[in-house]
């Protein structure tokens, strides 16, 4: 239970047990939430909202608590010792405990609130680990970090997350930077669908354009780079016009997944290697 996974999302980080998984996610930095469940029930919700001014943290949590007391008069409440920047309280109902804490991050100008549920009784050590490991991530001027849904990606800092599509064994994070866009994809369960031919996989992925594929190595694995141009018409295709598209795909046997980084641009092509994807401990240095 004490093995923790580290999630990085929209400049925030979360440390939670490995069997807690994200089932709801938001992609807007202004307002949103992440909801995590264990096998049977909701365990954690991290919600955030961007505020122009720093709220009075103690007062905000006192207000939350008095509202909670009003709504749940039959439950007992106890204070939560402050952990890092988090301030909050606990609500008790028989053996079930709910931890509620808030903090404001001045750099992101974001009010964050975390609610953790302990249906089988409080695990105080784990509670502290979760709170200590959660909050605003350390800023990195060279890249932004995304670690969730089995993907671990560092993007150049100007790229913004547009969409996260999460299906079983198929996760896509779509990023945009002005007139350039990129998709990082992780396809699981390759033993069920992948026949071992990266080039053929690439040709199936790029529809409506000729792909020039070349073999290379990436993260220590055999990889394939596909170069194509997405033209609006057949004439444009003949004339070599259109947006350059690059696809880098590789199979990581240790991660049991095929990874695909696709970039499209109006203007010079964006090398997919700009998106540092870690698969089996390979790819992009120390974290």
């Amino acid at each position: 239970m004490d093995r923790l996974q580290h999630i990085a999302w929209l400049g925030m980080r979360l440390a939670v047990p490995t069997d807690w998984e994200i089932v709801r996610h938001a992609v807007r930095p202004e307002k949103g939430r992440l909801v995590l469940v264990d096998r049977r029930r909701q365990r954690l919700q991290l919600s955030w909202v961007r505020t122009p001014t720093a709220p009075d943290l103690e007062q905000a949590m006192a207000d939350y608590r008095s509202r909670d007391v009003e709504e749940n008069p039959d439950r007992t409440f106890s204070p939560l010792a402050s952990v890092g920047r988090w301030r909050g309280f606990r609500r008790h109902e028989e053996q079930a405990v709910l931890t509620r804490a808030g903090q404001f991050d001045p750099r992101l100008r974001r009010w964050m609130e975390v609610v953790v549920e302990w249906p089988d009784g409080l695990e105080a050590i784990l509670e502290e680990k979760v709170l200590r490991g959660s909050g605003a991530a350390e800023p990195d001027e060279h890249s932004a970090e995304w670690r969730a849904f089995g993907l671990d990606v560092r993007t150049p800092p100007t790229w913004v997350l547009q969409e996260a599509t999460v299906k079983p064994a198929d996760v896509r994070l779509a990023f945009r930077d002005g007139r350039r866009d990129a998709t990082v994809r992780r396809l699981g369960a390759p033993d069920a669908w992948y026949d071992g031919d990266l080039e053929e996989f690439l040709h199936k992925q790029v529809v409506g354009a000729k792909v020039r594929a070349s073999a290379r190595e990436h993260n220590g694995h055999a990889a394939c780079l596909g170069e194509s141009r997405l033209a609006r018409s057949r004439l444009g295709e003949w004339l070599g016009m259109g947006r350059p598209r690059l696809d880098l795909v590789w199979l990581c046997p240790a991660a049991h997944a095929v990874f695909q980084v696709t970039t499209r641009a109006r203007g010079p092509a964006v090398p997919p290697e700009q998106f540092v994807v870690r698969c089996c401990g390979q790819g992009g240095g120390k974290r």
Partner: protein, 127 residues
């Protein structure tokens, strides 16, 4: 169906999928299976119409390798949670990823009459 939709996530994980004993199993192409489930005999299937138009008495459902793996794990003893665990381990998926796929597949099997979901306690009550 309405009873099924009232199941909570916890109930569903505790349920035991049991195969319909009347389902026939054949090897399919590509390493999968073809299941045949008997259809209720309708009036138009009977003679004399049935002599002229030979209606199939079974609905055939093809399972790919993934579906076959789940079908084989539905042995009447393992709970949905155990089926999900086995599927997740086999394909190196997270529990939640596997749960979404397996539950969706099991619902389809239940809809087609290939599997029923029972609870362990009820099963234990049976003589």
């Amino acid at each position: 169906m309405s009873k099924q939709s009232a199941l909570t996530r916890s109930d569903l994980l505790d349920a035991v999928p049991v195969r319909n004993e009347k389902v026939s199993v054949e090897k399919g192409s590509g390493g999968g299976l073809v299941l045949g489930v008997p259809l209720r005999e309708r009036w138009y299937m009977k003679p004399p119409i049935g002599w002229v138009m030979p209606f199939s008495r079974r609905r055939r459902v093809a399972l790919d390798r993934l579906g076959m793996a789940v079908w084989e794990t539905c042995d009447g003893r393992r709970t949905v949670e155990e089926v999900v665990e086995a599927f997740a381990a086999r394909h190196h998926l997270t529990f939640h990823e596997a749960r979404v796929s397996v539950e969706q597949f099991l619902r389809e099997l239940v809809r087609r009459g290939l599997v029923v979901l029972t609870s362990r306690s009820r099963e234990g009550d049976e003589p």
